[in-house]
Amino acid sequence: MSLITSSPRKRGSSRWLRFLDSRPEGGKGPLPLLGGNDVLGFLLLLVLLPSLAFAADRTPKPSIVIDKPGKCVSDVETMRREHPDMLKHQRDQTMHKGIRTPRFSLNGCVECHASTKTGSVLGDQGFCQSCHAYAGVKLDCFECHAAGPKLAAGTDRGAKP
């Protein structure tokens, strides 16, 4: 309450007005973006931007290690693009109709793609997780589904995301 009454003039309610008021000298100084130092910064950014854009090593590529070489259920391009739809379609078929064909089953994916070292598709080097981390796509299948083939009791399967 006291903050509002002590203000030199009535503060605007919109974000833009609040931005103007945040300027130095009680809201009467120059716009912060157009300050002398910021012009220099902007020019520097213009020079650096292309080099940043082409720095391909900034993000490490996902590790795609397939321990069990063999043919996947479809070609690589199709799998990369369509695997969520394949899994989602199969999921509804299995859940509601009891259709348990092996081709697009998540268990089938996991059996082939789980690392032989960790026994899981998760982990930094895991087939699913490494790529999903790279693409920034949340992977929540394995909050419920097993991330590896059935292992002997007590075997560590690695952390879940």
Binding site: M95, H96, G98, R100, N107
Partner: protein, 249 residues
Amino acid sequence: MSAEDKSKGVDRRGFLAISAAALGGVALAPGLRLIEIAGARAPDQAAAGTVRWGLLIDTNKCASGCDDCVKACATENGLHSTGHPRTDAQWIRKVELKDLRSGRAHSAPVMCQHCAEPPCVDVCPTGASFKRADGIVLVDRHTCIGCRYCILACPYKARSFVHEEHTDQNPNVPRGKGCVEGCTLCVHRVDRDQQPACVEACTKADHNAMTFGDLNDPKSEIAKRVAQFPTTKVRADLRLGTGVHYQGL
């Protein structure tokens, strides 16, 4: 109506009569044929509405204190204690009953009764709780929001909520935090022509108190026994058409 039309009509009627007779023959004489198809369902075939999976529990053979079925269920479905027994998932439990006047005691496992008219399905706001064509009542965890209306609606207290994260699921039985779950009649096994784990364990231990099968198939063991012996459904007054029958209660 011309004479030609009349004869055509008779022909059609005759044809219908013959085909009806033929169909009747197919359905009646080799009634077992339909059953064969239902029993050995191909993996790409959808669960059929002609089948009604059910359980028959003979309480005369179910020993007090025996929990072989409960243990088998836990092993098969990956139900482990989280250290919080009050909130641990419970798909099947043993219930001990005693008539105080006569002293007659019963012991029986109680699990999801797989109702024909399941109240859990009625109340589910997302359609996650559903009944499969063959009568198995399930929770689709992909659409379950964990509201737990179904837990309240179920008169058999058959549903549980998963409170904690799980990491060591059976690949065939996905389960995790935030969803409601209950007995699935071991649907992953039934789809592969196997018996539910509890029934298998009970039979293996030579108790033979549990029978699983197709109630719609008059030649199945369960249908024969339901036809031969008096059986009860728990809370039959609710008229939910449960798939689990009790003998000797």
